[in-house]
Amino acid sequence: MVTKIIHIIFSPILALVVGIFFLGLARKIMARIHWRYGPPLVQPVIDMIRLFYQKSVSHGRMFDLGIILSLAGSIVVVLFLPFGQICPLAGSGGLLVILYIMLLAPLGLALSGGQGANPNISIGISRKLILSLGYEVPLLLVLLAVMTCYKTISIVEVVNAQDNTGWSITSWPLFLSGLSYFLILPAILGIRPFDVSSAPQEISSGPMAEYGGKYLAIATIEHAFVLFISIALFVNLFLGGAANPAIFFVKMLVVFVLGLCINAVFPRFKIEQAIRYLWKWPTLLAFLGLIMTLVIRS
């Protein structure tokens, strides 16, 4: 019981630290690819503390509540994801619940932005929602392949099953699904070339256009969590989770840096191009993966 409480308290904090570290690392790596020196690793932390003490504007009740709802949703997802062997809410609904609570984050931001009544926000939200529909198609096929393969909806059991059978990504049909997930990872994270919804130079950061001060700080925390969640999900489903948080962290780091280096050199897609890409190759791979899983299972 006591360990459970400790896990519940510490796993979001751990996730936050990892997520923020990734944010700092991303800026550093991007800078180096651009032949710049880049900000120090702790820059996001400094920014956040500063932002909390700065003035901001509010457009109403929903403007405030939406962003809190979004962040609360992200934290709850973290509690459902095994981090090493830590998984506080293992037996409460499995992958289906994770899939659905992941909704709260974009929905909360969209509701909050909606009350912002700003044209840039509208464009950003429209792009964000369309993009999420775009990557959900392959993502759902991937998750269904995994669930069908291991005949369970519990993510903990998926992780445990890989102890015996080896990593999913090395087993034959799930290799396709894993590859597909890796291809859509930048779209889930909203990083290049899929940064259509924030697009700072184009629509002044889209959904975040009206945010300032503490709103911006919370939006950053939210982004850190999203980073953590989507990579941790990949590590759990395809790289066999890990025996302890340290190894888990190393696996996440490898996936993140690999993804970042590949995608940093692409220019931004238009939203139609993004959808067309997402519904072509990743979907095809995920579809094949699911069919083969079905064939092998029966």
Binding site: L104, A117, N118, L129, I153, L290
Partner: protein
């Protein structure tokens, strides 16, 4: 308390309301609320009892029977409660309309007829009540005249096709077994050959499929929902359409029985498998069509079709988990769709009937209760965790995944994402964004509208956090059909292949939200600003012109619009217009000139003589 008395109160109360209204307007309102409230109380008192009584002997040699069991009770309580809320909501919505007496009469008759359907113990009674329901619905849909007449005509034509199909099935059963009592037929059908069972299933599925708007029988629904008076649309979408689901469960698991239904057909051509695929199509296509709608009620109507697909998917596979999911989703859907239509109606009431999403906006500050109703309604519709829609969808997904149908599960899941896009537009365009100048003085909704909205909002949360309450009842229904019992706790479901625990999710979300709210308060205070004081990166944004959501999903439209034409509706219209032109040409035979008719008779006689001399038939 006998069932006859209950139905007499239901129908008699409707008539009394009409007559009372003719005398004095206040009596009408009082009687309508009293009758509908009395029905809720009476039905609630029948909880847990089961009975079967003959109420009329010798109708064409058949006994007419009323029966009560958990299955009919479950539907009856939903019908009567939602009916009551709708009556209360109508009080102010219909206040200054004409023909209000007639409206309440029909509304109460529809309610009574639905109660009659679920309490029917034989197919003749079911058919009679079914027809009363269909015809009174027709009268209510056409209440507003104008385009409503065309919508109602479409409804009644499809409804008649369904009724005929039902009648064919009944006649066939009657000639074969000489009885139409439901329990007697089900014992006789247990030994029938599978070909006959397939015939019965298909014939009844057409009837119930039209009512439940399963694709390709859905085309009556969008126009009817949009054109009917809004409080009645709530009833229509909440329970009346779902009489189709009642019918499906009745025919599949009560009359034919689970074993025969699940063994009907072979391979991928099994009856329930095809039904499930129809359900999946019914989810995906309407949900994506809903994204293209700009009319608030049309948008919800398309979702009404789509959500029907989830229920079909749930009940199709005949597992206790799926059946529980399907029936539970019927209840949940009723709650949130009624709530959504009421929230639209509340906005309509204050904005002189505006339901075009592109000319509303910013009403959150003016009508907070309607907004909360809309927000919780869309959360339920999406299936956000901690709302009721999530639990039933979880049950359905889990059934599909564990039974090994990932593609059906995919259709169901992707439907959810289509839902998010369209309902966000729905909520945003009504309540968020900028408030147009002409709605600056809109008042909040009257109490009789707020009350049903608050009750339903609470129901969404209670059933989402403590789903065990309705699931216990549903589990009893499942076991009465011969399925194994589920392991249900107050806050979820336990099983080997995955457990659901809503109370854990609830406490986690609550604690996280409270913590962040505190953190939020701790930061520097934010300054409230006017709605047009927004940052547009140096660009000029004129005040009162904020409607950047008019073509909100345009990039997506361009890609998917060609695939989303309602081909089936166009096909039906083509049939209708060809029949009309055929009839038009046939009409020329009747010229009105006696000489022609004499000629027809002579020609016919000549034909007869020719046939006789040539082939010597007679």
């Amino acid at each position: 308390m006998s069932l006859e008395l209950l139905l007499i109160i239901a129908f008699g109360g409707a008539l009394l309301t009409y007559l009372g209204g003719k005398l004095f307007g206040k009596i009408r309102h009082f009687l309508a609320v009293a009758v509908s409230l009395a029905l809720v109380v009476l039905v609630a008192c029948l909880y847990g009892r089961s009975m079967e009584r003959t109420y009329y002997w010798g109708f064409l040699g058949l006994n007419l029977v009323l029966r009560l069991n958990m299955f009919s009770w479950f539907f009856a309580i939903a019908i009567s409660s939602l009916g009551m809320l709708s009556v209360i909501f109508s009080l102010s919505y219909m206040k200054d309309r004409e023909r209000t007496d007639f409206y309440y009469l029909m509304l109460l008759v529809v309610n009574a007829a639905m109660l009659g359907i679920v309490f029917s113990g034989d197919l003749v009674s079911l058919f009679i009540f079914w027809e009363i329901m269909s015809w009174s619905t027709f009268l209510l849909i056409s209440y507003n005249r104008g385009p409503a007449l065309a919508a109602a005509m479409k409804y009644i034509i499809m409804s008649i096709v369904g009724s005929m199909s039902l009648l064919i099935g009944m006649l066939s059963l009657y000639t074969r077994y000489a009885t139409l009592n439901i329990s007697e037929i089900s014992t006789s059908l247990a030994s029938a050959d599978s070909g006959y069972i397939l015939f019965i299933l298909i014939v009844f599925s057409i009837a119930f499929g039209i009512k439940n708007a399963v694709m390709p029988l859905h085309t009556w629904l969008p126009d009817s929902y949009a054109e009917a008076p809004s409080p009645f649309t709530a009833v229509l979408s909440g329970m009346l359409t779902r009489m189709g689901i009642y019918g499906f469960v009745l025919i599949m698991y009560v009359i034919v029985g689970a074993v025969s239904t699940l063994n009907c057909g072979s391979g991928i051509l099994k009856f329930n498998y095809i039904l499930a695929w129809l359900g999946a199509i019914t989810i995906v296509i309407p949900t994506f069509i809903a994204m293209l709608q700009n009319d608030a009620k049309q948008l919800l109507a398309w979702h009404g079709i789509g959500q029907g697909g989830y229920m079909i998917l749930g009940i199709a596979f005949g597992t206790s988990l799926g059946l529980a999911g399907g029936i539970f989703h019927t209840l949940n859907h009723a709650i949130y769709i009624v709530l959504l239509f009421m929230s639209v109606a509340a906005v309509q009431y204050r904005t002189s009937g505006e339901r075009d999403l592109n000319s509303l906006g910013g009403l959150i500050k003016k009508m907070p209760v309607a907004f909360i109703g809309g927000l919780l309604g869309i959360c339920g519709l999406i299936g956000v965790p901690l709302t009721n829609g999530f639990v039933s969808k979880w049950l359905i997904y889990k059934t599909l995944i564990v039974e090994g149908y990932p593609f059906l599960a995919f259709a169901a899941l992707i439907g959810t994402w289509g839902t998010i896009l369209s309902v966000y537009k729905f909520l945003h365009n009504m309540f968020l964004g900028q408030l147009p100048e002409k709605y600056r003085d809109v008042e909040k909704s009257p109490l009789s509208m707020q009350l049903p909205i608050i009750v339903l909002s609470l129901a969404i949360l209670v059933f989402g956090i403590l789903p065990g309450i309705p699931l216990k009842v549903i589990d009893t229904i499942g076991t009465s059909f011969g399925f194994e019992s589920l392991n249900i706790t107050l806050w979820g479901i336990t099983s080997e292949s995955g457990t659901l625990n809503t109370i854990n999710i609830f406490s986690a979300v609550l604690v996280a939200a409270v913590l962040f709210w505190l953190l939020f308060r701790f930061g520097a205070k934010s300054v409230p600003v006017a709605q047009d004081d927004s940052y547009a990166a140096g660009a000029y944004t004129p005040a009162d012109k904020y409607h950047y959501t008019v073509e909100f999903y345009n990039p997506l439209y361009r890609m998917i619009k060609p695939f989303l034409r309602d081909v089936i509706d166009e096909f039906y219209y083509w049939i209708a217009s060809s029949v009309r032109s055929l009839a038009g040409s046939v009409r020329h035979i009747y010229s009105g000139d006696v000489g022609y008719y004499v000629m027809y008779i002579i020609l016919f006689l000549a034909l007869l003589i020719f046939v006789q001399t040539r082939w010597k038939i007679w």
